[in-house]
Symmetry: C2
Subunit: 453 residues, 2 copies
Amino acid sequence: MQVWNDYQQQHQDRFLNEMLDLLRIPSVSAKSEHKADMLKCAEAVKQNLLSSGCSKAEVMDTDGFPVVYGEKMIDPAKPTVLVYGHYDVQPPEPLELWHSGPFDPVIKDGKVFARGSADDKGQFYMHVKALETMVKTNTMETNIKFLIEGEEEIGSPNLGKFVALNKELLKADVILISDSSMLSMENPSLDTGVRGLSYIEVEVTGANRDLHSGTYGGAVANPITILAQMIASCHDENNHITIPGFYDDVAIATKEERELLNAAPYDAKEYMDELGVTALWGEKGYTTYERTGIRPTLEVNGIWGGYTGEGAKTVLPSKAFAKISARLVPNQTSEKITDILIKYFKSIAPAGVEVKASLHHGGEPYMTPIDSKGYKAASKAVEQTFGKAPIPVRGGGSIPICSILEKELGIKIVFMGFGLDNDNLHSPNEKYNLENYYKGIETIPYFHKYFAE
Amino acid sequence: MQVWNDYQQQHQDRFLNEMLDLLRIPSVSAKSEHKADMLKCAEAVKQNLLSSGCSKAEVMDTDGFPVVYGEKMIDPAKPTVLVYGHYDVQPPEPLELWHSGPFDPVIKDGKVFARGSADDKGQFYMHVKALETMVKTNTMETNIKFLIEGEEEIGSPNLGKFVALNKELLKADVILISDSSMLSMENPSLDTGVRGLSYIEVEVTGANRDLHSGTYGGAVANPITILAQMIASCHDENNHITIPGFYDDVAIATKEERELLNAAPYDAKEYMDELGVTALWGEKGYTTYERTGIRPTLEVNGIWGGYTGEGAKTVLPSKAFAKISARLVPNQTSEKITDILIKYFKSIAPAGVEVKASLHHGGEPYMTPIDSKGYKAASKAVEQTFGKAPIPVRGGGSIPICSILEKELGIKIVFMGFGLDNDNLHSPNEKYNLENYYKGIETIPYFHKYFAE
């Protein structure tokens, strides 16, 4: 619509600057030292909602970091869209690999570099600016509610309770989320689901203190060696996960779904070049898209133990640790897989070490139908602005709250992500292309228009 | 000798306080930030040598940290004893496990707690105070030279050259080292050798940046998983090292030597209780003393990669690292084993990751005969003050410079350590029992007396 284009053209720079201001707040939910930043960020989101057209917005308490709620109701007879997003971000470490400060956004080559630029501040903020566009041009055709939480990156431990307690407030016809990516600008896609997550931490303890590796080495179990053996035991030579029961509940994708998935454009050489590797890795018998979409995986996200400083120290450490997470697919459940993982690591502990394993957080896998009104509206909106119908694909990431949102509110989720896989999510130099940001703001009003039809 | 006892009784407190002053200097050779402390410590050692009876002492440059040399020559016709020690210490980390500051010595239950108390400041300083005892009581029967270096804990990279350039200065009849432990005060022992060392660092690189474990997990090699698999591959189910060629040059200990070694007092329950473990670990077919004495071992001294901070981060890291060291026995050589280790880790790297492996430092295993004049003098001295002949045992640790000292100077080394295995060497809460410190000062003059006979 010309009126939208005109308004967005006119306010383009401000749309960007407001997003950059949000990126400057280091809202790292995983680290307690950022508590004040989290509250500051929640307040900033609220103010932006109000100034962008919400008639009501508030910072609402939970047992953890607050939720920001906002709404613009035009007519109870019209459909209501609930936009979900999150204002918290991943920790920025390792800092030394950033080319610029993670919370000092820099624009370079048409990209904004900062933690949270794509995940998810830059993406949920497209909805705020889409709202403004529609409000200021008097073109709203749906009611809009915003649910912007602050604990997505730590597994949304308190959002389930919040949603259960606020069902009436959050009542809507569809949930719209932009917290994922598309294949490319030339090949737009819509995610039809996200994977679930089981994230645990394993602690292996040997002797009651660090020992001299000369005096005791070879006579006492080394927790690093034992932990390495445990981790190595999790995959076989085909990179199939060997943990008993792990695959029991995996819904086998149909031949049709696999064909559809593999029909999406994919160039192995380009994929490898972009990552700087000379070979790919993964479960034998599956393609890259299948490995990251329809198959569950197990990754070690962190490991540490012993002396890790400069130089050398001949220590036989007392403890070693690992952070380990599995991505889950339907019909696996986070609770069952977490239980399987914890039991597995404890059960394979050899005599002479003690193993503790505990849950960090989890989330259920989630699938959305492609014949729903919401999915169709999103597909039509993307086709409208990209000139090409989006390909339905399975997303590899996790948004733990999805299954809870659907269960509590009884409505379906539509994923309309505008990021790219190479946005460096959770990595140094996270970025979001300005083109994608503006394209998102351009596309979102069409979703509301088509959803209201 | 009564005159020694009287003098030592009279100066007991000062002997301790001087040692504590040395412990207060954080002379960590592995960390460049401690360079000024290293130089300060070298100067303090020099001043102590001069004030304790050396007629000459100086801080001598090397390409790294300086060597402190001192001497008290009484008669060229008398035998000369070269005392070797080191004023540098291991890094104190992890700091949070210390009950008191590593460089704020605390005396508790008859033990002095501080980094370097047993390794090696407290031990080499016994020789300084033994010198003082003999000088002040006019009872010297040998010439004494001191070679106190500052790079033992980083593998003595510059001492070989220093010794080669100063052969005349260091000319002696025997080298005496107190940098090891004895079985117990009730069962004194003398080490007949030390193990060699090959210490390497391994770096595994996957993708060119940290990745989101949801987007890429399962499709790209995870360097932590690969490193864990590499480490796990180093031992078989009998904890025998599987690296090709690793055992090729191991001198098989004779039945007699194994019997002698196993005749030393050993209580498995006591050993386990002291370490807080419920089972021991090690190469099948060997006893604990054999595992730490006559057999080579491979230990992971440190590992790190990915997210190791508070909370959870779903990252698939770009890199993972490990510090790995082998203890060597005759006739293994550090150069050959280092080469074998580096080649092994590179050779088992799967496609999709790049592996770098490089040497930190190494040292050769060393054995000393028990029928030498020096060993006999040490044995007699220990018997004199402990009331019991010491048991000859193989030490598990490494003093990389031993083989170089013997080669350059053409003389044998005698190990007369007064530490205990539970001194927490290289660990938090390193300690040295005051009883051992004073017993060492009491015993050392007898060594000189018997060596001169």
